[in-house]
């Protein structure tokens, strides 16, 4: 079984990919943590009915 907790996670500095809320990335960056922020919002602004419609319209 593959090790789910590789030792390197605890011995190397963390490298973070942050998705969505930018404040998390800013906070980490201010503490010197290497972080890449990915701008992302839920499809259709989180509206499940609209998301369903968009999937039917072929997005």
């Amino acid at each position: 079984m593959k090790d789910k907790h590789p030792a390197s996670l605890f011995v190397a500095p963390p490298r973070v990919v942050n998705i969505g809320l930018e404040a998390f990335a800013s906070e980490l960056a201010s503490q010197g943590v290497e972080v890449i922020h990915v701008e992302w919002v839920p499809p259709a602004d989180g509206d499940p009915k609209l998301a369903d419609l968009l999937s039917k319209l072929g997005v």
């Binding site: 839920p42 499809p43 259709a44 602004d45 609209l50 419609l53 968009l54 319209l57 072929g58 997005v59």
Partner: protein, 416 residues
Amino acid sequence: MEIIENANREALERMLGGDPVLVDVLPASEAIPALTERMILHAGPPIEWERMCGPMRGAIAGIAVFEGWAASLAEAETMAAGGAFEFHPNHHFDAVGPMTGMTTISQPLLVVENRAYGNKAYCAINEGLGKVMRFGGNDAEVLARLAWLRDHLGPALGAALRDLGGIPLKNLIARGLTMGDEMHQRNVGCSSLLLRELAPTLARTVGAGQELSEILAFIAGNDQFFLNVAMVLGKAIMDPVRDIEGSSIVTAMTRNGTDFGIRVSGTGDEWFTAPVEMPEGLYFPGFTAADANPDMGDSTIVETIGLGGFAMAAAPAVAGFVGAGAASEAANTTRAMAEITLAENPEWTIPALDYQGVPSGIDIRLVLETGLAPTINTGIAHREPGVGQVGAGVVRAPMDCFKKAAWALAERLGVS
């Protein structure tokens, strides 16, 4: 859905295949025969007098005095409130107009013919910066300038353009993009190129003297002279894209200072509206955000064809002027707009993005999927009538317009 993909392919072919040529300047009564006495065309989707913002009301009062329908601004406002004038959007008459977008019978209109599809579109001549009617200005100075446009510049430009056989615009835009223009808040390159095309012919058709000097000085003194040309070519390009069954591509975006409205090809000429947003930007000395009117004008037709905010990467100087941040942010704006469009325009490319084409064909599905609303570069009018421009900034199209359009398109396609 296959019907949408096929329809959008057709829409893009028509959009990118347009061939706009500036062919004439004509009095509005000749260019648009359906335009008659006491009819006032305005920017944005339909709106009644009671809901119009301050600058729009100011411009209407001013244009009514200019046309001789009222003796004073006060009388014009009373007449407007009493139903003496008929109001319609420019878009309903193959026309566009910046900011308040006043179009009435005696004004000279730029005429652009889309030679690939045979349609024509119209727009008034740009008045210059500062206190002007498009920003709600309506004093004697504003009206005197409009009279000069009507009696001198308009006829002279019309004669020169007819003599030239028209000026093709597609290549002119391509060159402007390499000179730092995005064609909404920066038109320095294209205004200069247009003047270079016109000046020798104007010298011949107008003749040497004071009149020629004034005409050349007016065009040369207005960095935004080309804005109205960019708008009318946008209208001429997008009109043949209207009404393609199933297409989810936006054919018009516009605002009247109260509502923002969009049209989508697959839903015909129906408007989808939402309250317009306030631009974020920089203000001229002495003015602040408290003075600003909400977003206004048909000029968003420029973004609809992939210019303006969509081509911000071509115009780093604009990023500073509209308060959008560093030059690198300008490139990011264009990249973001590429996420909500279906194609790049291979003829309109941006050197700073390794000659990537401007993002073209706004797909309402992509806008809603990504949550990225179209970014618009805009001028900011004072909220009170008669003052004029107070700044420039960036504004987003409201998402509700796109949500309403998606539901309407789905209904037409029988999807629920």
